[in-house]
Point group: D2
Chain length 94, copies 4
Amino acid sequence: MTEKISVYSRDKMDLMQRLKRIEGQVRGLQRMIGEDVYCVDILVQVAAVRAALTKVGLNLLESHTRGCVARAVKEDRGDEAIDEVMEVIMKFIK
Amino acid sequence: MTEKISVYSRDKMDLMQRLKRIEGQVRGLQRMIGEDVYCVDILVQVAAVRAALTKVGLNLLESHTRGCVARAVKEDRGDEAIDEVMEVIMKFIK
Amino acid sequence: MTEKISVYSRDKMDLMQRLKRIEGQVRGLQRMIGEDVYCVDILVQVAAVRAALTKVGLNLLESHTRGCVARAVKEDRGDEAIDEVMEVIMKFIK
Amino acid sequence: MTEKISVYSRDKMDLMQRLKRIEGQVRGLQRMIGEDVYCVDILVQVAAVRAALTKVGLNLLESHTRGCVARAVKEDRGDEAIDEVMEVIMKFIK
């Protein structure tokens, strides 16, 4: 149990750090627009921030699957949990 | 058990039908190229076939999660099954 | 002019070959489903076919931009051509 | 000319506003993680922020194509401009 909690806290800290960095990158994008940086350079940076956000989504998805979904499956409530996770995956894959 | 098998067969038949249709669409794309159809119309059709293929991927992913992953979780081999499924999800989300 | 046509024919032949290969891969997927291959292996292959189709889309998009869009821009009909191409790009990026 | 500049400024203001909103959403995500909000709700929000960022990318891409790329095409430097824009599009479509 203790180990589980600490794993979860580590995941949380990692997510927080990633989101802090993404917040800084989004501010950086505003600065680039303000300073009339060449649009292609801004676009490359938008793609990088988007990729960083996708990584956050994948990490959250993984810890959700390992935690809540696995628990639901063990407690025979797996079907709804899987419906729910499939729906959220569809928001990322199109 | 019987019900599970029949659900699985139904899924298989549905996937087969979707793939048959996609095969026809891919042949249709070759015809469009051969007949010099306007590129934007071909592109719209490529996007449609790609979406159909994505749907096949999502359906397979769902039945894999409901079947193999859920079974692995119940038999306490969930971790590897989830690693594997996350890796394949990453091939679709980028 | 002659050179332009030959470049276009080369693009067409390349697209045709790619689509032929994709058609074969889609048939391969049907075979995999029929033979009850492990779902994750099928999913990996679905992702590969999807990536191949995306490449076809990108190649078509590039030759459309270099050909039709560039010509439209030179003839001062660029705005509609760009509207149209942006709309089709949105079908691929979501 | 004047009109062109004002269109560009309007685009810039719109991008700035979108990025300000995205920055707020990214801070909101950190709050959600801190408050242990249910992971699926966070994931839905990550997908929404990602979609908002994609929209910023598409808008930038459109104004870049209408501006820099179209100008390059008219000045017979279209090829490099199109190479560059295709490369950046590939960072969004995969």
